[in-house]
């Protein structure tokens, strides 16, 4: 297991979201779950906490998370990830799904 936490600069989240938290994905082989919650401080960073079963890919994780924080207004969110070996493209997809559910509701 490898665990790390980091905050990334991001534009503030819209003041209204569909729900206070959202979950995307499942902890299964090659998959991950992403929990996005509002109410993080400060409101211009996205706080991330990652736990992954595959050690040694911290640089890729930080790049994927920084990229997401740059493209989406996710400041003031807490992002917590349980990972079981998901590839970076899936990490990005789950982040976007969780963010969509948070801001627009489950659809």
């Amino acid at each position: 297991m490898e665990k790390f936490a980091k905050a990334f600069p991001s534009k503030p989240l819209p003041s209204k979201t569909a729900k206070p938290w959202a979950l995307a994905g499942v902890v299964g082989s090659g998959n991950l779950e992403v929990l996005v919650e509002r109410g993080g401080r400060p409101t211009d960073t996205m706080q991330c906490h990652v736990e992954t079963s595959i050690p040694g890919y911290k640089a890729s994780w930080l790049a994927a998370l920084a990229d997401f924080a740059h493209h989406y207004p996710a400041g003031g969110t807490k992002v917590t990830i349980n990972d079981q070996g998901a590839p970076p493209v899936l990490v990005n997809l789950r982040l976007r799904q969780a963010y969509d559910h948070l801001t627009k509701g489950d659809k």
Partner: protein, 291 residues
Amino acid sequence: MSGVLFHEQTARQRIASLADAGSFVELLPPPERITSPYLAQLGIPVSFDDGIVIGHAKIGGKKIYLAAQVGQFVGGAVGEIHGAKLTGLFKAAARDKVPCVLIIESGGVRLHEGSSGEIAIAETMRAIFECRALKVPTIAVIATDIGAYGGIGILSTCCDYRIMTEHGRLGISGPIVIEKWMGKKAYDSANRALVWKTSGGKTKYLLGDADALAHDSPEAVRDAIARLLTKSSAVSLASVKARQKDLEKRLKKFGTTDDPDAVWKGMGVRDIGAASLASGPEFAALAKRGK
């Protein structure tokens, strides 16, 4: 029909599609982070809900307690937290006299935390019997190939009713386990037709282990639940003895056959080919199960 297949949905999607819109309230939701301490010690990733979503909801305006297991997370297996959530839900159902529906997707006890998983399943069974003693309906839904096996297979048979689809499977030992112990000649776990004809929803319906056979859609499963939500019966010595007699009869009738079709024929299926292609109520109509 929405065209959505129930067996392809996630646990949360299943709950959302069964419950009246917006009525589901999750208990111990992911932000509470009640996760398995054992998996963490073993360096295995944990899940925020420990593989089960529990809460209360309404179906057709009627309040129910509702749980759905997450089969993709360690096979939906029951650990300490997962089991405690399950036990608590059935206890709440007994306390509030509100029906309880469990959407099953589990291979049984989680081996990484075996003892606490076994105890949790035993405690949940006790809570189910508490519900039944109070005539609070308990329903298990088994609708995916992960199915209900091991302790969860037994637990499902403690409920008043089981709703299955043709994708669902119900048993104690899984096909691979049986093959490992008895040999490939006795039971070939790679033979999907054989596996489904011995443990699949259609066969379980014929034998009376499943009370309803539904189409693989959230609407059909929801209808089946709504129909069964009204009745419950207590477990008594007489009911257990009657069940034992049924099982003895079944063993006598089918105990020596190697041919699953013989079981279908013996349970009233005349046209095996047509029944193989039919599903849900159409299959039930072809079968004319004597019940």
